[in-house]
């Protein structure tokens, strides 16, 4: 009985591991463009957060203006690089 159980466990797992799968997921290398798009989303989030906190009355006008300018500059740089990469032929 125990030998049968051991055999079933072994064969079952062996079958599962080596059963030939037709579709195998490709291991895709993340590109610079994908990274920049992620970065853009994060920067948009940061801008939204900043606006929200300003509207909530947490920052004074000067702090808000400085931070918004910094974030917008950073976002503009990322967007410019995205534009360049997107315009390149694949």
């Amino acid at each position: 009985m125990i030998i049968i159980a051991c055999g079933l466990l072994f064969l079952g797992i062996l079958f599962y591991v080596f059963y030939p799968e037709r579709h195998v997921e490709e291991q895709h290398q993340k590109t610079r463009l994908e990274y920049l798009r992620e970065r853009k989303d994060v920067l948009y989030d940061n801008l939204r957060d900043l606006n929200f906190e300003y509207r909530a009355g947490k920052y004074v006008q000067e702090d808000y203006a400085t931070q918004q300018a910094d974030l917008e500059n950073e976002t503009a740089e990322v967007l410019a690089e995205i534009d360049v990469l997107e315009s390149q032929p694949r």
Partner: protein
């Protein structure tokens, strides 16, 4: 069943070994674009499936051990030494982790379960998951090697099989012990997942911080398990060990605290990496350290390196663990040196008065606490090695260092959310700090008026009142700061949606669950600090109580109604029945016990506790006076203890909120029935920020 269990463990080892080797070969081939007879993607897929298979095989082994416990199979040495026939069912189940071999099997099983979930969810990022899966398989191979060759749970008894087992350690025969170790292990083991992702991301030079996003929930769930495990352990110590306290700075308690401290630091500092691309090397080393400390904690518990009520006997597996730790450290160091240019920060710290710097301070303080605990834990071992005699470090050392550190952390918890990212001007600081500061000062006045005199530290060297004073005052400051955050955010939503403040707060939480869940967790931390501060005012009395004799403590009178003894198949017990009066009104009856377990021939204390929000009346049956035959009763009055457990409940709730995905702006708009045009205008400010 032992044969089946042993076979399953061997099969699990073979499968994990295959996952490690085939996975590593496939990743190498893909990275080098090497030609191969079998496509590397196919090889990687078999490795992934073998990892899933190792979970099935490890589950079968764990099942075999539990089966043997429930069927009183005393031919298995582990079952013989950790169970007996009269042991209640839940404790037979708990036998799986009550001994060294079983608890290592639990480690391996939980690791394979985490790996199982990770491998099922591989489509989230196939390549990164393949790296993480291979690294996890390496950890799994270590534990399965231990189980197959050094700490075998299915070893058979030599000679005739005894009719009954030696029983479970009485200290472990308590309901919480059925859930405390698995919780703690879920925490320990769970840190292997973010560790594997971090190391994998570094090995493959993963661009960006998405690996943090992928592992965020893993890290939070793991942290929550470890938090619950630590506090369940504290509650167990409070309820079972019978010394009136919940934390004794025992080496094994410390072992669980260290990865918690670095894990907490990691949870905070990754936000800086996600939002600003800063502290990348720091974060990588934080999660490496957290995982290594989790392994080190297991080493402390398993090897007998230090003496503790929790630790198991001296054993040879310490050498295995040290070897594994050295391998892990070498791999981490080698990978870091090789890829350190990949971890260059994208931004710099712009100001010392900013959210970033508060996170940095928070991290430094948490690491200082971790180092203190590590130093105190290892000091006896180091002193014995260097001087030849063991110098034990006791609670006063830890309290002297850890309490101020804890209070400084509480302070940072309050000010962090009030500071802006990048830099805060003096005007902003003044605007945000006024209300919390007033609340802190008001609380200080109230606390002094209530009789807590912090200046006693200078006259009587009494530190309790001093620290309690700061805990209450800072607690008020943090609660005000957190409440202000909620009210401000809810106010914005309320103005946009015309909802009432409560509905706006709910929506605020749902729109940025991580941030506001985090604030709820901070609130829970304050509540725990309040509970801990209560210990500065503990009282205790010990008296021999005959029939109708009583003792007074605080507002209570404890009167002995009877004392007797009893026995069942599992243990003999002596107990006293005590009526508790407040004024002339009887409020409850308590029955503290002292048990003597037949199978293990060991005594155990069963504490009787009457818990209220104000204090716990904690009663111990300390034994009988041999001359008079009357029971000796020890009574503690422990203020505010219940708030510690309530605080943990709040932390669980807050983490639960943080684990929920954010409600999207579109869904929020649909819920609020805001016209599309108006919503478009409101979309930017309508989300709470991090």
């Amino acid at each position: 069943m032992p044969t089946f269990g042993s076979f399953a463990l061997l099969l699990a080892l073979a499968l994990s070994g295959y996952t490690l080797l085939a996975g590593a070969v496939a990743l190498y081939q893909i990275a080098m674009r090497a030609r191969a007879r079998v496509a590397p993607e196919r090889l990687a897929e078999t490795a992934r499936r073998a990892g899933i298979g190792s979970f099935i095989a490890t589950t079968a082994a764990a099942f075999a051990l539990v089966w043997a416990a429930f069927n009183n199979d005393f031919s298995v040495a582990y079952i013989l030494h950790h169970t007996n026939r009269a042991l209640p069912g839940p404790y037979k189940f708990a036998a799986l982790w009550s001994g060294q071999e079983g608890s290592l099997l639990l480690w391996a099983w939980l690791l394979s379960a985490y790996g199982f979930v990770l491998r099922l969810r591989h489509k989230v990022d196939v390549k990164l998951t393949a790296y993480a899966s291979t690294i996890l398989a390496g950890v799994q191979v270590f534990f399965l090697l231990l189980l197959n060759f050094a700490a075998m749970p299915f070893s058979l008894v030599s000679g005739p099989v005894p009719q009954d087992g030696f029983g479970l350690n009485p200290l472990l025969q308590y309901p919480e012990m059925v859930i405390h170790p698995p919780m703690l292990y879920l925490g320990y083991v769970g840190f292997a997942v973010p560790f594997a992702f971090a190391l994998g991301a570094l090995m493959m030079r993963y661009p960006g911080e998405k690996w943090i996003h992928i592992t965020r929930r893993w890290t939070m769930v793991t942290w929550l398990f470890l938090t619950c495990g630590i506090f369940l352990g504290a509650h167990w110590a409070y309820s079972v060990l019978g010394w009136g306290g919940y934390w004794g700075w025992d080496p094994v308690e410390n072992a669980s605290l260290m990865p918690w401290l670095t894990g907490t630091a990691f949870l905070h500092s990754v936000m800086m990496q996600e939002k600003r691309g800063m502290m990348k090397s720091w974060n990588v080393w934080l999660i490496f350290s957290t995982f290594m400390l989790a392994i080190f904690g297991t080493l402390l518990t398993r090897s007998g390196l230090v003496s503790s009520v929790h630790a198991f006997a001296q054993s040879s597996i310490g050498t295995w663990f040290w070897t594994f730790l050295i391998i892990v450290m070498s791999v981490c160091l080698f990978t870091f040196i090789l890829q350190r240019d990949h971890l260059k920060a994208e931004n710099k710290l712009e100001s010392l008065v900013s959210r970033e710097s508060s996170f940095l301070f928070n991290n430094l303080v948490l690491l200082a606490a971790c180092f203190t605990v590590l130093w105190g834990t290892l000091f006896p071992v180091l002193s014995e090695y260097i001087q030849g005699n063991k110098v034990t470090v006791s609670a006063p050392f830890y309290n002297r260092v850890a309490v101020p550190i804890g209070l400084f952390l509480l302070f940072l918890t309050g000010i962090g959310p009030l500071l802006a990212w990048r830099s805060s001007s003096f005007k902003s600081i003044r605007k945000n700090f006024v209300l919390p500061s007033i609340a802190g000062l008001a609380a200080a006045v109230v606390v002094i008026a209530c009789g807590v005199h912090p200046w006693e530290i200078f006259t009587t060297n009494e530190q309790g009142s001093f620290y309690a004073f700061f805990a209450f005052s800072l607690g008020a400051m943090v609660v005000t700061a957190v409440s202000a955050e909620f009210l401000r955010g809810a106010g914005v939503i309320s103005r946009h949606t015309s909802q009432n403040l409560f509905a706006s707060m709910v929506q605020l939480c749902r729109r940025n669950t991580r941030r506001y869940g985090g604030y709820i967790v901070h609130f829970g931390v304050v509540v725990i600090f309040i509970g801990i501060a209560g210990s500065a005012f503990n009282q205790s009395r010990e008296e021999e109580l005959g029939y109708k004799q009583s003792l007074n403590i605080g507002p209570y009178r404890v009167e002995c109604q009877s004392y007797s003894q009893d026995s069942n198949a599992n243990y003999d017990t002596e107990y006293a029945l005590l009526d508790v009066y407040r004024g002339s009104k009887k409020i409850t009856q308590l029955a503290p016990e002292k048990r003597f377990y037949a199978a293990s021939q060991q005594p155990s204390t069963i504490v009787a506790n009457h818990s209220t929000l104000a204090w716990d009346l904690y009663v111990i049956y300390a034994g009988k006076n041999p001359d008079t035959g009357q029971p000796i009763i020890k009574v503690f009055l422990n203020p505010l203890i219940a708030w510690i457990w309530i605080g943990v409940g709040i932390i669980v709730g807050g983490t639960g909120v943080a684990l929920f995905p954010n409600m999207t702006a579109a869904l929020a708009a649909a819920r609020n029935r805001v016209p599309a045009a108006a919503q478009a205008a409101a979309a930017v400010p309508a989300r709470g920020g991090d």
